[in-house]
């Protein structure tokens, strides 16, 4: 028994010596985790802002990947999340800058095309290619068809925009309501389907396309 007591006392003494150290480590780790969480919050905000700025451009990867949860992450895991967010943000900024450069070049080309359509025969630049939303396009075309081609009468035509609404019929509840005579639902449903169609049909092109 005295041995046990001695042993217990030794453990207690050891704990008393080590406790402040362990507590300090724990406090430091908690502060590190708090700091990492703040950094993740800031990166997430920046990524969200970039997401909004980048729309409707395509070609971005936004997913960061999960480390698995829901649970309290360790410092190392939080660092991994932070680093992955930072890499994603960096890549997205680079991609946005690259696309902005392409759009700037396309805008310059469009200005040149408007100034001298005959020098850019049949060249077509879509609104997306100059960073605008919608699905219209500018094209250098001859006035009066073959006559214009022969005499060199070229002009810029802006297409009439997006194709007419098509797509799937609205889901059943909307259809039922339309059948009940709720005109608002009936009128709204095809417009929304059309919006989806426009997005699907309006993918960004790699560059201006001559016909």
């Amino acid at each position: 028994m005295p041995e046990v007591l001695e042993h217990s006392e030794a453990i207690v003494e050891a704990c008393l010596v080590e406790a402040p150290h362990e507590a300090a480590v724990e406090t430091a780790e908690r502060r590190a985790r708090e700091d990492l969480r703040r950094q993740i919050g800031r990166l997430e905000r920046s990524l969200g802002e970039l997401f909004a700025s980048a729309f409707p451009r395509r070609g971005f990867e936004w997913n960061v990947g999960a480390v698995g949860g829901p649970r309290v992450l360790s410092t190392g895991e939080l660092e991994r999340v932070r680093d992955a967010l930072a890499v994603r943000l960096h890549d997205a900024r680079d991609e946005l800058a690259r696309q902005a450069d392409v759009e700037e070049a396309n805008r310059a080309l469009l200005e040149g095309m408007i100034a001298a359509p005959e020098k850019h025969r049949w060249l077509e630049i879509s609104r997306r290619e100059i960073g605008e939303s919608g699905c219209g396009s500018y094209q250098s075309r001859p006035r009066l068809g073959i006559l214009g081609m022969l005499f060199g009468w070229w002009r810029i035509r802006l297409s009439s925009g997006c194709p007419l609404a098509k797509g799937l019929r609205p889901p059943a509840p909307w259809a039922r309501r339309a059948a009940d005579g709720e005109e608002a639902a009936q009128a709204a449903a095809p417009r929304r389907a059309g919006a989806g169609e426009r997005r699907a049909g309006g993918q960004a092109q790699a560059g201006p396309r001559p016909a």
Binding site: A52, A66, P70, R71, V72
Partner: protein
């Protein structure tokens, strides 16, 4: 002005605070849980609620969906998802899940009174809401980490130790922002619904109260 409800009208239910285990409270100071009991189950949505959903659908545009990520409350949930190891682009936050559905289907689709009430409250407030069958819960709800060997009813296998769950006094009822245990959610036989709002750091308390009030208002008609 006595504060008493008018004759014939049931008193407004009041929300109560749930508990957060001490280690989680220390780790996530903003984490909180608020619950509110509603003396009714779900059922079919009345015409007014369906109309309200449609008005909400019409009010909600693509531009709002795009800008949602950096609005304070949706952002706070996204950040908290990252903090607990979830990817909000794979497992969507409640409000983003609904917004995505609105964009894909062209509107908020009516499913049941409870679902519609939650949709309206979540979209209006941005706060994450859950609902449980109040008669199948013992004690006050809270958020804690699981111990080794704990299970979520209706799911095969044990939950990994340390998984964050919503639990009552006896067992885990649902994963935090995830699946609900079998028979713990609201079903056709539910007569009393417990609405639960999960608050995370950066979400004001007033928004949580508003979310619960909105859902209750729709449920009570």
């Amino acid at each position: 002005m006595s504060g008493e409800p008018p004759a014939g009208q049931a008193p407004e239910p009041e929300s109560t605070g749930g508990w957060i285990s001490p280690e989680l409270a220390e780790e996530f100071p903003g984490l909180g849980l608020r619950e509110l009991l509603v003396e009714r189950g779900s059922g079919r949505s009345p015409r007014e609620v369906k109309q309200r959903l449609q008005v909400l659908s019409d009010r909600f545009s693509g531009a709002q969906a795009i800008n949602m990520r950096h609005q304070p409350i949706p952002w706070a949930y996204r950040v908290f998802y990252r903090h607990i190891g979830l990817d909000p682009d794979e497992q969507r936050t409640p409000v983003e899940e609904l917004v995505l559905e609105r964009m894909k289907r062209g509107g908020f689709v009516s499913r049941s009174l409870l679902d519609d009430a939650l949709t309206i409250a979540i979209i209006e407030s941005g706060v994450a809401l859950r609902a449980f069958d109040a008669d199948r819960i013992s004690g006050v709800l809270g958020i804690r980490s699981t111990e080794p060997g704990e299970r979520l009813e209706g799911r095969p296998g044990e939950l990994p130790a340390g998984t964050l769950v919503i639990a009552d006094a006896e067992r885990p009822l649902a994963l935090l922002f995830g699946a609900v245990g079998a028979d713990r959610g609201v079903g056709p036989r539910t007569s009393r619904t417990l609405l639960v709002a999960i608050r995370v750091g950066g979400v004001p308390q007033i928004a949580v109260e508003e979310a619960l009030w909105l859902a209750t208002e729709v449920l009570r008609g």
